[in-house]
Symmetry: C2
Subunit: 346 residues, 2 copies
DNA sequence: CGCTTCCATGGAAGCGCTTCCAATTGCCGG
DNA sequence: CCGGCAATTGGAAGCGCTTCCATGGAAGCG
């Protein structure tokens, strides 16, 4: 066992000042002479003193705890790059800002999901929440959290979530549009689209952008078959046949994320199709899997890790009062079409 | 803002007992009459009281905080299923046990990595650490942590780590052996092997099992080219040419994990090779990517999520004194060869 | 020069909980 | 009927920190 850790009183004694003064120095408070500040810092150094975060939050009433809530069920979707990357970005930012982040998986089919989320605030004393889709558009949930005095930042809100609280994300609609333009340029005129889960509004915006690009070319609903998947590889493989065998005979299959696109690709391989010769396939996100499959997948890059990081920064700026704009802020980051090898001439 | 949260004193007042008694009930202490216990629980219910974890750990001297430390650099290896799955398993187990887990990424090339890890104990007050490779075999680090009075469980220790503290893992050596037996059965006699990073001893055990299987068939060093990768997809694609162009002309490439195998597969596709007709490829871990690539990868399954969960359970059982066996415990879980479609007759 | 004002510091209280120890009760054998 | 012991409860102290308020001195002002 270790000898006991030094406390703030030890520092105070060694540096010959009162406990409050040490506290002031530690928290960057004003009204401390430079000489005293230096003396305290030296004592801190000498004793290898670290504040006790538990004591600090008990006394100060601030836990410096954030929570990252995600919905995807890892049993069903074991590979969710999106969530891991968000988390990682959040973790990084927290480290820099002196906050901690609790990661919480709350499958959204859970009947008491709202209670589960609110428990993070009551039980763990979280001061801020990062909500990823589909929670980022669950206005009821967001308002319930806000009502508890807990700040919220949403990741990729698709609509209603945006007006309610701060958020970060890319322009999904523009992403879908840009990607589709590229497909149209390659001569494709008949499409299949695998959309995401109901309620994931940001994913639906991708579809909206897709339609807009089609309409600009005078194309419409009769030129595309739309199906809904659940973002998993498996749903891609399951849904592909319906698209491939459809009388419309699509020449390009557009998927709302990369995992489903990888599933479609796999199903296409199983049929002996030549990609992109016989069929073009696109994803969304630019997850690692996009570069791993063969041939590498054309997709839309979004900086997911940065999204997680920005979410934390936004949250913390609200918490420490640096930012107190009354209206919600939405930080939009850049997306980019990444043309790889699953797309070719129609 | 919320009205203030109820405290233990509120519960005491409502249930008409002293604060200590409430504390006893909350912590499942002995010597409380059933009638009183029920009364307290009812008050807790009625007030929707939740203990304040910060206050509890300050008073009780136990933070109920664990940390999960992993080394892989996510910039370089953006897809590490292994770490995410361990984390998820740990998270799940913690939720059930009332502990919290801090996730910490400490790249092992960091010069002050040891300090970074020890800081988790001093700064965050963690009571237990989960160390994944290669830290699981860093005896110096483990002992330094132990010396601070912090418990340690290692994940997949490959050798030295095992005798030092508790651990969980599969029998990597047997996994490598079983997989290789399968390859030999298919008639392969000339091999390429992409090993993992230096210092990842559990990954090296896979190679050891591989050799053992070869020796049983009277094969040896001259029948296999061995290279070292870094577990990433990219290192698989980079290393593949050296193996494919080697005068030995290997008919099967064995990789220490799935990502590298996926890289090799991709490189093989780029050359127009027919898999498994021209070449067999195997991975290790049975990560999601193994099922996603085309053709799906033959590999060895290890229950990574369960590993993470067991690690936490082991740690907690040490912390609360349920388990106080003096010698280190190693929990070995089952592995299984998963034959998919990247392996065929030589 | 007496007054206010500002700066730098310290004293005391208390955050919500657990732990240590003392007090009370009921019940035993002798 | 009494000392003793276990079961049950409560009082008080204190974990390590921040916050509120008081203090003393230096500086500013007419």
């Amino acid at each position: 066992m270790t000898s006991k850790r030094p406390t703030i009183d030890d520092v105070a004694r060694v540096s010959g000042v009162a406990r409050v003064t040490v506290s002031r120095v530690l928290n960057g408070g004003p009204n401390v002479r430079d000489e005293v500040r230096a003396r305290v810092m030296q004592a801190v150094e000498q004793l290898d003193y670290k504040v006790n975060p538990q004591a600090r939050s008990l006394a100060g009433g601030a836990s410096r705890l954030l929570a990252f809530v995600f919905a995807s069920d890892p049993e069903n979707d074991p590979n969710s790059y999106y969530e891991s990357a968000l988390e990682l970005g959040a973790l990084r930012a927290c480290l820099a800002l002196g906050y901690q982040v609790l990661v919480q998986n709350v499958p959204d089919q859970t009947p008491d999901y709202r209670k589960r989320v609110l428990d993070l605030i009551t039980t763990q004393r979280c001061e801020g929440l990062i909500l990823s889709p589909p929670y980022s558009d669950d206005v009821g949930l967001i308002e319930a959290v806000l009502a508890q005095g807990c700040k919220v930042v949403t990741v990729s809100p698709g609509g209603p979530g945006r007006g309610t609280t701060d958020g970060v994300g890319v322009d999904d609609e523009a992403g879908g549009y840009d990607l589709t333009r590229e497909l149209l340029r390659l001569g494709h005129r008949r499409f299949g689209f695998i959309a995401g889960l109901e309620g994931h509004l940001s994913a639906d915006r991708r579809l909206k952008g897709f339609w807009r690009a089609l309409e600009e070319q005078g194309l419409g609903e009769r030129d595309c078959v739309v199906l809904r998947g659940d973002f998993t590889f498996r749903s891609g493989t399951h849904l592909a046949p319906q698209l491939l065998d459809h009388p419309l005979k699509p020449t390009a299959l557009v998927c709302a994320n990369d995992d489903m696109a990888a599933g479609v690709l796999s199903a296409a391989h199983a049929r002996g199709l030549n990609i992109p010769g016989d069929l073009s396939i696109t994803g969304f996100d630019d997850a690692p899997v996009a570069a791993i499959v063969w041939p590498p997948l054309t997709t839309v890059n979004q900086p997911v890790k940065v999204l997680g990081q920005r979410a934390v920064e936004l949250l913390v700026s609200r918490l420490n009062g640096v930012n107190s704009t009354p209206e919600p802020i939405f930080q939009q980051l850049e997306h980019a079409v990444v043309s790889r090898q699953t797309t070719g001439l129609a």
